[in-house]
Amino acid sequence: MADILVYSDLLTNAKELAYAGKGFAAALGMGISAAALGPNADADAAELGAYGADRVFVGKDPALEGLQTDVVAEALAQIAKEAGAEYVIIGSTRRGKELAGRLAQKLGAAAVTDAGSVVVEGSDLVASHFSYGGATVAKEKVNTPIKVFAVMPKTFEVGDVVAGAGTVVTPSLSLTPSAVKLVETKPKEGAAVNLDAADRLVCIGRGLAKKEDLPMVESLCAALGAEMGCTKSLCDWEWLSENRLVGLSGTKAKPTLYLSCGISGQVQHTVGIGTSKIIVAINKDDKAPIFAFADYGLVGDIYAVVPALTEALKKK
């Protein structure tokens, strides 16, 4: 029986893949396996079993410490063969996306990365990803015997968990240490933020004239109970950390309320906000493309509207 093999370097994401993978496997008449790799593999394996994997391949080879792409790709290629995988579905996290190309090349597979949806069509899984910089969504079917999909975190929701772990399998891995050495890790500047989880999100763009004006936006965030995100230039200029980037190369946010301030609405940004429940845009240019994406549009200068909104929210 062919198999679906799932893997992610992030456990929460791996659980989503195991859960969704079980559904795909049932629809396609396949088995569902997961891979748990690295120092935490044993603990992860139990969770992945509970989330749907019939078999969990546990790899604890010392070469996997640090999860370097070349070693993880080799391990997954070996596991995919042992599991008889037809589909290898991995998380399109930063590591996962890098992994996808190398793994696909090892497996002689075509791959779809950054997939925002995977669905069963007939006897196949087909995946969709942004194309033309986000202007369109391309839906692709893979025709190689083994197929690799890298799926963006949070694409799949997780439902009820059935206790009862999958069978743990110890694959016979033959790995060599990575050609890349991790010299050191250092903390990023700026406090950790998790825009993924934000229920309300205020995003600021190049309409902000200077970094010193950020407190104006921070006040609005505080009054609204929102996290602050931004467009790419603000990260490139290091006004805000890259954890706050929303869009194609950053977070695909799913807030209830998204409010943009001084953002034009170029597609690389708007692909990150499309699933927001309500979208509000403030821009001084009444022709800004962001208004086409918005539920509510306010034409105005952010230096007038943002403080006014902060005050109005405080008085409410």
Partner: protein, 260 residues
């Protein structure tokens, strides 16, 4: 040392219009990808830092009929030489076929000490090329570098990974992919634009790199490629800033996304 920079030219994304959800590509000019300019710039900065280094640009024409002209921008930025793979079969190829063609071309050029890719292409952003070419050439690869140095025959790269910055090291030859944070690409001077026309540019077909159409045949089928439909209220709220804000708050409360 020798640095090869594979670059992609793509239809100017600002000029693609959508009609009945279909992208209209007719008459849309190609340009060097924004992210590819970061990889070219990264190579040029290493060239300046290390000295005695040749920067070679490599591209696949992919339907860009004016590829030679488009690539002049890369030469004008400062690349010493350009290679262009032009073959109809490559226009239809997907990442696997293109990676194979790039790897074969890199071998034919005589290999490189460093191959610098963008983290993804500006239009499709799949991010597969760097890791695939690294695997084909059996080279180490570091993705998402936002800082690069080469010294003592070693490559050191910094990249953001979650809440951490990783500092990674690899021997050469190696493949690296860079993000847009790494630099601000230079804008070529008029003088360099004029000089670019005289720099060597070589055009190859698939046969020239030892491949045929079958070797790069597409392995994926694109079932559709359409703009997504946005269902939004598109209500414009007018008035003074205070009036706008009051009306917005009311509307958000009615929608149930703000407490009364």
């Amino acid at each position: 040392m020798k640095i090869i920079v594979p670059v992609k030219t793509n239809p100017d994304l600002q000029m693609i219009r959508i009609k009945n959800r279909e992208p209209i590509l007719e008459a849309v000019p190609y340009k060097v990808g924004d992210l590819d300019k970061n990889s070219v710039e990264a190579a040029l900065q290493l060239q300046a830092a290390v000295g005695d280094t040749q920067v070679v640009a490599l591209t696949i024409a992919e339907g860009n009929r004016k590829i030679k002209d488009t690539m002049k921008e890369v030469l004008a930025m400062g690349a010493d030489e350009a290679y262009i793979l032009s073959d109809d079969a490559l226009t239809a190829a997907d990442q696997a076929g293109k990676a194979l063609a790039l790897a074969k071309a890199i071998e034919k050029i005589g290999g490189a000490d460093l191959i610098v890719f963008a983290e993804g292409s500006t239009d499709n952003y799949s991010g597969q090329m760097g890791p695939r070419v690294a695997e084909l050439l059996a080279l180490p690869e570091i993705g998402y570098a936002k800082k690069l140095t080469v010294a003592d025959g070693k490559l050191t790269a910094e990249r953001g990974m979650g809440d951490l910055i990783e500092v990674l090291e690899s021997s050469l030859p190696a493949v690296v992919t860079v993000t847009s944070e790494i630099n601000e690409p230079r804008i070529p001077t008029l003088m360099n634009i004029m000089k670019a026309g005289k720099k060597p540019t070589t055009e190859w077909t698939l046969g020239d790199v030892g491949l045929d159409a079958a070797a790069v045949a597409p392995q994926k089928a694109v079932l559709s490629n359409l703009a997504e439909e946005q269902q939004r209220k598109n209500v414009m709220i007018e008035g003074s800033a205070e009036e706008q804000c009051a009306a917005l708050i009311d509307a958000l409360i009615k929608d149930g996304v703000l407490e009364a």
